[in-house]
Symmetry: C2
Subunit: 373 residues, 2 copies
């Protein structure tokens, strides 16, 4: 594709495949996290969907997956094309500054000047062409010296996402839509969200960051110098026989901090962050309400059914059913219901209560029922 | 017990154990009907509860169970004391006139003058002593030449039961509460039911009939002479080597008709029916709403949990959970919910929709999914 676009020949995709997705329990589990599931009905996992979106942009030899050791086999099963050197295994989860920062440090050592973009493994994007166009612009903005992010034009006053406040157009070569980021805002209340939607200058923060690896590391070092040192130490040993010993020694002291706080927000404050506003139908499918909406096309009278060989008999019911057992599931007169039927755990709730699922998972953790987590 | 009470020494209990209980699907099944389940939390089946209530009255050598061939093993497992000659196996279900009429015909041949009482295998009765007292009075009324029934004093304006309209006191020896039955009334609407409750002269028809076997047969013959002939033919062969051949020949032509229509209502019209009004906490546990109420003590904020080793995690939820799988069941923010979790079928509905469960079963039948029925 657009190989003439600024920076695109130096572009490398990074897919941090972490996050269990607790609000999608019991579908999403520690040993079967959200990104390994088919939540769209595409017939393949969200991770594979993500890979398939990025491969035409960076080439499939230039996609790195950062994931937990426990998920290596599952990841490789879903992406047989994934080269060994493109798998970065985390000893244990250390939040996004580590996942993305380590990838940046390894890539920059291997290929100085590389431009990297990080894209969550478990988001849903409808319009692949529009996504590609946005990434190409973001790469151009990165090539021009910015940390670029892709801002999703909001389609409703969502309270479950953070927002990006747009500033002036930047007029960058190859990135005509790029604008300065004024600041990030945390998840708003509904009145504020309505205001953002009406304003038109606010975009959803989808956590996609594209920049020169060197710039990302520099910005990380400005706020978290110790963390940067640790990541550089890991990267220096990564492609050597010292990797294992270095991971064992350094990993336990890695600070857990979201890249939003270590890099994105401070960089925005210093005018270093660009945003590419985009409209490509995006969802993080963060909970079952979101999953139901994704499949009902917004019609609340519909019943969405997910799962191979699902057998559902529904009478005057709506919501979402996730079936992993092949059992007959019969619903009678239940609206906006959420039923998740897995071999060892069953969840029954409603779309309205979708955000409370995480609390149940927390309660299960506290009571030591790790067998179902 | 009261062996001096009129007729009690000639009393024989009959338990028709038929009826699948479709409105309790998927708990109740063709191969595991309602009477084989523990719905009270007593630790034993409703059938066994019924047996245990009757044994002190008639003696355990004088209780006959009428059931389907397919249930023989399950019945005998629950009642090891059950003597072979007290098991009457139906070739296929033919409604209550056959189940009760055949028992009457067999018992009358074996023991002319016997008084029999028939009691459903799957009802719940709280106060066993009050039940005993009512049965003893009913036997006395039967001894005095009536078909006696036990009328349950209504505790609410139920629309799910038929009612018995009481007439004048009968002043029978040993049956001081016996009154004439004026007539039966079908399930009323709610306004009518409220009127019945306020009137005080109406009782729930629990389908318990106590009479001389000979009288019951005589009354059956008055309305269904052909059916009576068939039952007498079966009974004549029952304790002989001709039983099998006779069943094969006669069974297919047995008419299906409820004993309410063949015997009870016509007898009431002729002043032959007595009722013993009783207060012993009765429920037919006909559907999941009834089951939920049984276990919540009427408090709608409660969540009732049935099933061995049930693992339920509930947050702001109420209703009833029946667990047969040992899976973790998590409920969040669902009110008056009904969740029935069995190895091959899952039902999710609400108490309000409990009556609609039968329609699902009918739909499953029509679509040939007999594997889960």
């Amino acid at each position: 594709m657009q190989s003439s676009a600024p920076g695109i020949d130096r572009f490398y995709s990074v897919i941090p495949a972490g996050g269990i997705g607790s609000r999608l329990w019991p579908l999403s589990r520690a040993d079967a996290p959200k990104f390994l599931h088919d939540l769209t009905g595409s017939g393949q996992s969200l991770l594979r969907d993500t890979w398939d979106r990025l491969a035409p942009i960076s080439g499939e030899q230039r996609i790195m997956v950062v994931t937990g050791r426990a998920h290596r086999a599952a990841v490789e099963e879903r992406i047989p094309e994934l080269a060994d050197h493109n798998v970065v295994l985390e000893a244990d989860p250390r939040d996004s500054s580590v996942a993305i920062g380590l990838a940046a440090a390894i890539l920059e050592r291997r290929e100085p000047g590389v431009i990297m973009g990080s894209f969550a493994a478990d988001h849903v994007i409808r319009d692949t062409r529009a996504f590609e166009r946005a990434v190409v612009e973001a790469v151009a903005a990165a090539d021009a010296g910015y940390i670029a992010t892709i801002g999703i034009a909001p389609t409703e006053p969502a309270v479950g996402f953070g927002y990006i406040r747009c500033g002036a157009p930047l007029d960058l070569p190859g990135a005509p839509s790029a604008r300065l980021v004024e600041h990030f805002v945390e998840k708003p209340d509904i009145a504020t969200a309505r205001g953002y939607l009406a304003d038109g200058g606010y975009f959803w923060n989808a956590g996609m960051f594209i920049s020169r690896a060197s710039l990302l590391l520099e910005r990380l070092g400005a706020t978290e110098p110790e963390l940067l040192d640790n990541l550089l130490e890991l990267a220096a040993a990564w492609d050597t026989s010292r990797r294992g010993a270095t991971v064992d020694r350094v990993w336990p002291r890695l600070k857990k901090i979201a890249i939003d706080y270590s890099v994105a927000e401070p960089s925005a404050a210093e005018g270093k962050l660009a945003v590419i506003p985009a409209h490509f139908g995006w969802d993080d499918v963060g909970d079952f309400a979101s999953l139901a909406k994704l499949h009902s096309g917004g019609r609340s009278s519909d019943l969405a059914i997910l799962g191979e060989n699902a057998r559902v008999l529904s009478d005057a019911s709506s919501g979402v059913v996730v079936s992993q057992t092949g059992r007959l599931i019969s619903l009678i007169g239940v609206s906006d219901i959420v039923v998740v039927d897995t071999p060892d755990a069953l969840l029954v709730t409603t779309s309205e209560n979708a955000q409370r699922v995480k609390a149940v998972v927390d309660a299960l953790k506290l009571s030591g029922r790790n067998d179902v987590l």
